[in-house]
Subunit: 344 residues, 2 copies
């Protein structure tokens, strides 16, 4: 009560810095941080300013979680799976192969105990997270040659990271780390054979279809990537409760807004990519099933030595299996009819 | 500037009343208004209070839009399609048969010009709307007997309203208006043959499976029902800009929260309904295709005499057709594998 009464009534001036995990060229995903920042500023008569910096302006993408942990910046907007090098648990709130789609991510995070579990882990790194965007199911990436069988994966040099890269490695793929700006020349020269990025709207800008015409789907390693706002726990605790409430609502608003923006932009992009010569290809059932098995083998291996990961992945998988029992009824049958049935 | 400077800095006291279109028993959908109201209160140190009233406490469900229009209450949280009697355009922002799923609703409303078109229409009724929740694809309702062919629809007395009822009527169904609390006894007595409500979580509470065991899917008239906050335009204009920003973010936060809650609750409910003897049945392709054709016939008829409706439905249908071209690629193929492929 004393601390509370010492605070000025109304809206005190607060200035924070946010380091995005993304370049400005990914305007939908980078833009979610600006949408969030504007909500917060508008809600506080401009008194709570959160300045958004693109990846690399303060720290790079892969340093963002550590910058929040150290208090170099108050917060970040990023994808947790960039930090699997610090701990594979970081991926659990973002996307893990063959798990939740975007709606199920939100259901698990907001109402399935997901955010509580993720934050219990993140607290060890002095991070408090709020879901802050989703891409929907991503594409499986660009390939210079068709891949039809498991044999075609062997020795394939693919730009793919994190748990997805480790899953692919079990099947003979050689995962490569290539920054976004170098993917095109690497594909062109044949230094790499394949690369995954995001989805049609973002991928189109980088022109991959000119050098790797086969565009595979679905991106089974990101059935519904959740972005998060990562906030330093000390800085979070210093905020007045009504600023915490504003940040919480603004993050949720940015979450729904970002997916809506992708869903509005991707349809034109996929058509334009196909018109430009992109060849759409589904991953074969043989490849999907082998990757599914490899991913779950990987989860068992990590779980054997990482109790936090086991807690998180067990929760996700149990939730996922329940969700798909329901989604196959109304949701899937509706989409199925709208895609296939009404054409007959 | 004069009006602005006359206002107190910070957070002035404002008290509003919100009439929900729903009873408290629908805790997920009714609860979205309480989630919203709490965000607004918490963000303003309790200075902006929005008291939530259940349907019937101030006005009934079907009077809520008019109560906002007349200024009897400042706002409502409701489903636009309840007001098709005032104008069929009211349904366009909520759900129209065989149109958008929940993600596509958000994409159209937030980034496809949907909210602008809907608000241009609603302004004629002194209403400003913000999307405020979604149910996902609903179920097709409870039937005392199996229906397999179009012949089985003839003379069927079904509790179904609005554009869905008018679509069904074209195929011989006799739509019935029955309040929620009277559905069970009406089905039990056989006064009606079928009734649609929401989905597993809500339907389970009312016990329909005991008197009408066939539970059909999908609810093609609500591929992704959007709820809205309806706000009186004069009251909206009176709010300080930062209160408008808070209301806007809180509505979006309630939007994503409500769907997440349904998605977390429905899986257990559908399993428990099946365990209790519910018989799940998909609508036959014959019935789906005939209903699809009837719905589009209805849209043409209404459009012929209602220019606002034509503007809205043309926008929705063009958007929908683009969306499903994209959704069939990554999103649908991912869900398809997760539902069917991984089991093999």
């Amino acid at each position: 009560a004393v601390a509370g009464s010492a605070r000025a009534e109304g809206n005190p001036e607060v200035k924070w810095r946010l380091t995005s995990g993304f370049p400005k060229s990914l305007d939908t995903i980078y833009g979610a941080a600006e949408v969030f920042s504007k909500y917060v500023s508008d809600a506080t008569e401009g008194k709570f300013q959160i300045q958004v910096f693109a990846a690399g302006e303060i720290v790079g993408t892969f340093q963002a979680a550590d910058a929040v942990k150290q208090g170099t910046v108050e917060m970040s907007h990023t994808a947790g799976y960039y930090y699997v090098g610090m701990d594979p648990c970081f991926a659990a709130g973002a996307a893990v192969p063959f798990c939740l789609n975007s709606r199920q991510q939100n259901a698990w995070l907001y109402h399935g105990g997901g955010s509580e579990l993720y934050n219990a882990f993140l607290a060890k790194h002095k991070i408090y997270s709020l879901p802050g965007g989703n891409t929907g199911t991503q594409m499986g990436g660009w390939f210079r040659k068709e891949i039809k069988t498991l044999e075609d994966l062997k020795g394939l040099k693919m730009r793919i990271a994190g748990l997805a890269g480790q899953t692919m490695a079990k099947l003979g793929v050689v995962p490569q780390q290539v920054p976004g700006g170098e993917i095109y020349p690497s594909l062109e020269r044949g230094t790499i054979d394949a690369a995954e990025w995001v989805g049609p709207y973002d991928d189109e800008k980088l022109g991959f279809y000119k050098v790797a015409p086969f565009y595979y789907y679905p991106g089974w390693w990101e059935g519904g990537l959740s972005l998060h706002f990562f906030i330093n726990t000390d800085k979070w605790a210093e905020l007045p409760p009504h600023y915490q409430a504003i940040v919480t609502a603004a993050a949720a608003a940015a979450n729904v807004d970002m997916l809506a923006k992708y869903d509005a932009k991707n349809p034109k992009a996929i058509q334009s990519l196909v018109a430009a010569g992109t060849q759409l290809r589904p991953f074969s059932t043989e490849i999907m099933q082998a990757c599914y098995a490899a991913a779950h083998e990987l989860y068992a291996e990590i779980s054997a030595t990482n109790a936090d990961f086991k807690t998180l992945i067990d929760s996700i998988i149990a939730f996922r299996d329940q969700e798909y029992l329901w989604f196959q009824v109304a949701e899937y049958s509706y989409d199925n009819f709208m895609i296939r049935g009404r054409k007959k």
